[in-house]
Amino acid sequence: MKKTIYIATVIILFVIIWSCETDITVDLPTPQKKLVVEGFIESNNNPYVFLTKNSGYFDPVDSTSLYKMLILDSTTIPMLEQIGFSQTEIELFEFAEELIITVTELETSIIDTLKPSIIPYFPFFGYVASSMTGNNNNSYKLDINYNGSHYFGTTTIPEPVPIDSIWFTTDTAYADTLGTIGIRFIDPPQIGNFYAIHNMVEGEHLTFLKPYFGISIIDDRYLNGDTLKFTGITKAQDNNDFFEGEFDPEADWWAEGLFSLNSIVNIRLSTIDTEHFLFWNSWSRHLATDGNPFVNPASIMSNLHGENVLGVWGGYGTYIERVHITDSATLEILSNKH
């Protein structure tokens, strides 16, 4: 059916060559304020949460308004000064009267509170736990109390699956200096295993991000229990680019998404649970159908509970392979971590 949508879109585009476009003003109703939660907990790492709010569709989008979307409480003021906001700018932000974020490991009842923290990568500000780290095969509950409302969600960190083999394929169009990575891993026998792929190039990225092109989540519905091969993994996309420059039609976008020789790459294969998978699946479907006038828009499935909340609380069971792409386009495995 994706093909059908593609076909339908092409047909529509064909007609558009002899259609007209006009700018119009659209009067949209005032939106219901909603809390947006992006919270994750990975194996052996502190859980973290980004909290933002939604905004009007036509509201201006500039770096200041992005920060205005952040949910902040008054304890964050010194951090805002540290990032570089002036007093006048800080006075424009909305501060929450009540903001308490906790994560509970359900198997042990250990609770940790998430505190505001500056993060070296976009969105540069989040709430991080100081002591708790994710343990494989455990479940975690996130609780947020924000201005009198309570929100919560539960996720699990499934047992990670190791990368069985990894290789580099060069792209002949780039004289063998750029290419993609492929991995192979063995899917456990029970049905219902879901995976996500991220990568991080040392010296270029500050954290694990999704590949630039292609899919980044996989499920085992058709090849359950088999050896799953995932080829054509492209280099992660860096969101900073989006915020720093305009779309450059001259740039070679395909090349931007390829790994280069002599780089050190961390490939992360994560296992995720069903609800976490449903979130990313609906997120990519939404992006694929958004704006297409011929398909009803797909909404994003959230595993969070509470009134007027969007987003996800997801666990990742991670397996990281650190590799060096050598001159001869082979991969030298430096280490692996899980």
Binding site: T4, I16, S19, P297, A298
Partner: protein
């Protein structure tokens, strides 16, 4: 005891009147110059105020007690014939009516029953002979019967670019469109610009918006019954037109005079040839093309006074193709219908008419995409996939009309259809290997029905119609039902059905009734009720009708749609039937409507059923339709205004909050005028105004993983700008003799270049860091002002 006596007396009286000695006058009424049957011609026994009309085959029958009567035979546009007849035995009388000479004065008003709209018990029905349709401005020079019916109140288009039409709030799949008794699944070419019906091959159309008689069923909202011409029985005729966008040619004539005739009609657009030189070399659309063609053929054989045989067929295709400059990528998307019908009319006796029909209908939509990188060492990378969906029906039916006396016209019959659906079938070739997913995707069903109905003229004031239709539907195997997990991710079980094994069965009892009460003068009050079930449905992924929409049958998961409609109306004619006016109110309830699940993109999965992704709900629609028509004179035309509201309610959409249907249209106004200037020149105009379509727009945005996400408002909560448009046309009759006709038509569509909305989308400009990132709403409109010239010719 007294009650029993009364009943026996009553029955005897009825029985006596029914069995009083009556003699029957019957026969066929035809056009004297062409031999075409005249549908709906009037036969009136003047002093008795009794009458009847000819049926779809031109047959009439009227029974009267012994006596002498003056009988008049008439049809609008033809000279009336009157005969004095002695009913002392059954009479067979075939009548040939002559068309009235074309004059510059007002068209001579014949003494026919011009108050038929008031006197007929049927309501919510419009009869449209094609000659009337031909006088209206033609879109791009092409007369279009489906575009014309959308000018009637209660029947709406969804604007430019949408091929469906909507009758009293019903969906586009709820209209039964039949061509010579064969159902047509996709009655429009791309984007609804042209219907599949070539007006030169069409004789007559009857449109039911409500009060559907029992012989029709299977679709809830309307019946568009289109009859083709049979072919001139007397002489050869070649007629057609050459226009700026499309051309058409119809050839018809006798194979054996007055016995056997044929008709062949063809039409093709050459949109692609015209646009090709204008597409820029570096445009992604270079190498694309689109065209469509239609062919109608009919063969008509009268092999005895009592028997006639008709063979008709239709075949049409829309073809969209695209091939990249380098030849590495090709795409070909043909879609279209084919129908074939054999009908046998048999006069059992002068009061009993029988029609037997066998037909075949095939609708296909194919997408053929091939990619060949062109490098020899990379044949592995070439692929081709053929995605196919379609529906094939085999249909057999028998219909009887029994006219025991002028008070009753009884119709009864039965029919059977075998449906073969292929909702989505895929065949793919990768390099050398081929994967065939076509098997196991088909859906088979049997549909059968019986009906009986009677038009009963109780007296000069009251006419009643009562009918009952019983229908059944059986989905049969081979079929596999895949049962999904609650999150829809996994198939947890499957049930297999063998060949012919019953998967699901549904039944329907459909009462139909209407009543007319004359209020004296030329006015009447009518009311009707109908209940229908529909066993096949159009699953539309998009908010727009596209050829990618799937026809699907009812299954173990999909129940039949059901509708109930109540209507009441007041009809009045003024100035000796010069003006026809009516006001009708309707209320319709709809059940088991189908939508796709939120975010559904079905068809990806191999082991799945597309109907696992449907959600079901109900809806209703109500409205008022006002209509004024000037029937004859130099200036003719009509104005129709509809106020209506159509809502839907689905538990799985917006949590069950009612939402308006996409085509919910509060106001709909249509005006058509035709003015005969003189012998040579005729002017015509059409003006339409409609409340804008609804759409779902984002109301807010937020960030998720660095991507901007749109948060959508309630379904269809935003209304686009209203649609309005003015068309003008001028017809110049260059020459008109017995042997040759030449008529030029100049038309302009959308005279004041109104940019009617097709859809709205959002564009982003600027960058975030520069502080000038902006979201701009843009509206796409389809058709600007469009002139067209067509030269129409006729050789006889």
């Amino acid at each position: 005891m007294k009650l029993k006596l009364f009943i026996i007396l009553l029955l005897t009286l009825i029985g006596l009147s029914a069995f009083a000695q009556k003699y029957t006058l019957s026969g066929y009424i035809k056009d004297a110059t062409t031999g075409e049957d005249l549908i709906g011609a009037n036969i009136i026994i003047k002093e008795e105020h009794k009458g009847t009309t000819t049926n779809t085959y031109g047959f009439y029958s009227i029974s009267m007690p012994k006596g002498n009567y003056i009988v008049s035979f008439s049809y609008i546009g033809y000279e009336t014939i009157e005969r004095k007849l002695n009913f002392n035995e059954d009479i067979t009388l075939n009548i040939n009516l002559k068309p009235t000479a074309y004059t510059t004065q007002e068209v001579v008003v014949s003494s026919e029953r011009t108050d038929k709209n008031v006197q007929d018990s049927r309501m919510s029905v419009v009869k449209l002979p094609v000659d009337q349709v031909k006088t209206l401005p033609a879109f791009m020079g092409e007369v279009d019967v489906l575009k014309t019916i959308q000018l009637l109140p209660g029947i709406q288009s969804a604007g430019d670019g949408n091929s469906g039409f909507y009758v009293r709030g019903g969906g586009p799949d709820q209209n039964l469109v039949i061509l010579d008794e064969a159902p047509v699944y996709n009655a429009s070419h791309l984007f609804g610009f042209f219907s599949v019906f070539n007006a030169d091959a069409i004789k007559d159309m009857e449109i039911y918006k409500g009060g559907m008689p029992a012989q029709y069923g299977g679709r809830i909202s309307s019946v568009i019954d289109i009859s083709m011409n049979n072919g001139n029985m007397k002489q050869f005729v070649a007629q057609g037109g050459i226009g700026t966008i499309a051309s058409r040619l119809t050839v018809h004539g006798p194979i054996k005079k007055d016995t056997c005739s044929f008709l062949v009609s063809a039409r093709r657009t050459y949109l692609d040839l015209l646009i090709k030189p204008f597409i820029k070399k570096d445009s992604p659309f270079k190498g694309s093309g689109y065209y469509f063609y239609d062919i109608n053929a009919k063969f008509n054989f009268k092999f005895s006074e009592k028997d006639r045989l008709f063979l008709s067929g239709y075949y049409g295709q829309d073809i969209f193709n695209f091939s990249a400059e380098s030849g590495t990528f090709q795409m070909r998307i043909p879609w279209g219908n084919g129908t074939g019908t054999i009908r046998w009319n048999h006069l059992v006796n002068s009061r009993f008419f029988m029609n037997t029909t066998a037909m075949f209908s095939d609708y296909k939509f194919t997408t053929d995409i091939g990619m060949n990188p062109g490098t020899e060492d990379d044949t592995d990378a070439s692929f081709r996939f053929i995605l196919f969906s379609g529906i094939r029906d085999y249909y057999f039916k028998q219909d009887y009309t029994w006219l025991p006396n002028p008070q009753h016209t009884v119709k009864f019959g039965a029919g059977y259809t075998f449906h073969h659906f292929t909702p989505n079938s895929l065949k793919a070739e990768f390099g050398e290997s081929e994967i065939d997913f076509t098997k196991g995707k088909k859906l088979l069903a049997h549909e059968a029905y019986l009906y009986i109905g009677d038009d009963y003229i109780i007296n000069d004031y009251i006419t009643l119609y009562g009918g009952l239709r019983g229908a059944s539907f059986f989905q049969v195997g081979p079929f596999t039902r895949y049962i999904k997990s609650d999150d829809m991710l996994f198939t947890i079980d499957s049930i297999s059905y063998g060949n012919g094994e019953l998967v699901a069965d549904y039944y329907s009892l459909e009462p139909r009734a209407s009543i007319k009460v004359s209020l004296g003068g030329k006015s009447s009050l009518k009311a009707s009720f109908m209940q229908n079930k529909q066993f096949i449905h159009l699953a539309s992924l998009s908010a727009s009708t596209l050829p990618t929409d799937l026809w699907v049958p009812s299954t173990d998961v999909v129940k039949p749609q059901m509708g109930r409609q109540y209507a009441i109306g007041y009809f009045r004619n003024f100035k000796d039937n010069l003006y026809e006016t009516s006001v009708e109110f309707y209320y319709k309830e709809l059940y088991n409507l189908i939508e796709y699940m939120d975010g559904a993109l079905p068809g990806d999965e191999l082991n799945d059923n597309s109907d696992n992704y449907f959600v079901f709900g109900n809806g209703n629609s109500y409205g008022a339709e006002f209509f004024v028509k000037k029937r004859t004179g130099r200036l003719t035309g009509w104005i129709g205004y509809t106020w209506s509201k159509t809502m839907r309610e689905f538990n799985d959409i917006d949590g069950g909050i009612p939402f308006p249907a996409k085509y919910d249209r509060r106001h709909d106004l249509s005006l058509t005028l035709n003015y005969i200037l003189n012998e040579k020149w005729t002017l015509a105009t059409v003006f339409v105004y409609a409340t804008g379509n609804t759409t779902t727009l984002p109301v807010a945005r937020y960030m998720l993983d660095g991507e901007i996400i749109s948060e959508y408002g309630y379904r269809n909560s935003y209304r686009m700008e209203p649609y309005h448009r003015l068309d003008l046309s001028v017809t110049y009759t260059h020459k008109k003799t017995d042997k040759y006709e030449s008529v030029w038509n100049f038309s302009v569509y959308n005279v004041y270049n109104r940019k009617n909305p097709f859809f709205i989308y959002f564009d982003y400009t600027g960058s975030v860091d520069n502080g000038n990132f902006q979201t701009v709403a843009k509206q796409v409109s389809l058709i600007p002002v469009l002139p067209a010239i067509t030269w129409n010719f006729k050789f006889m």
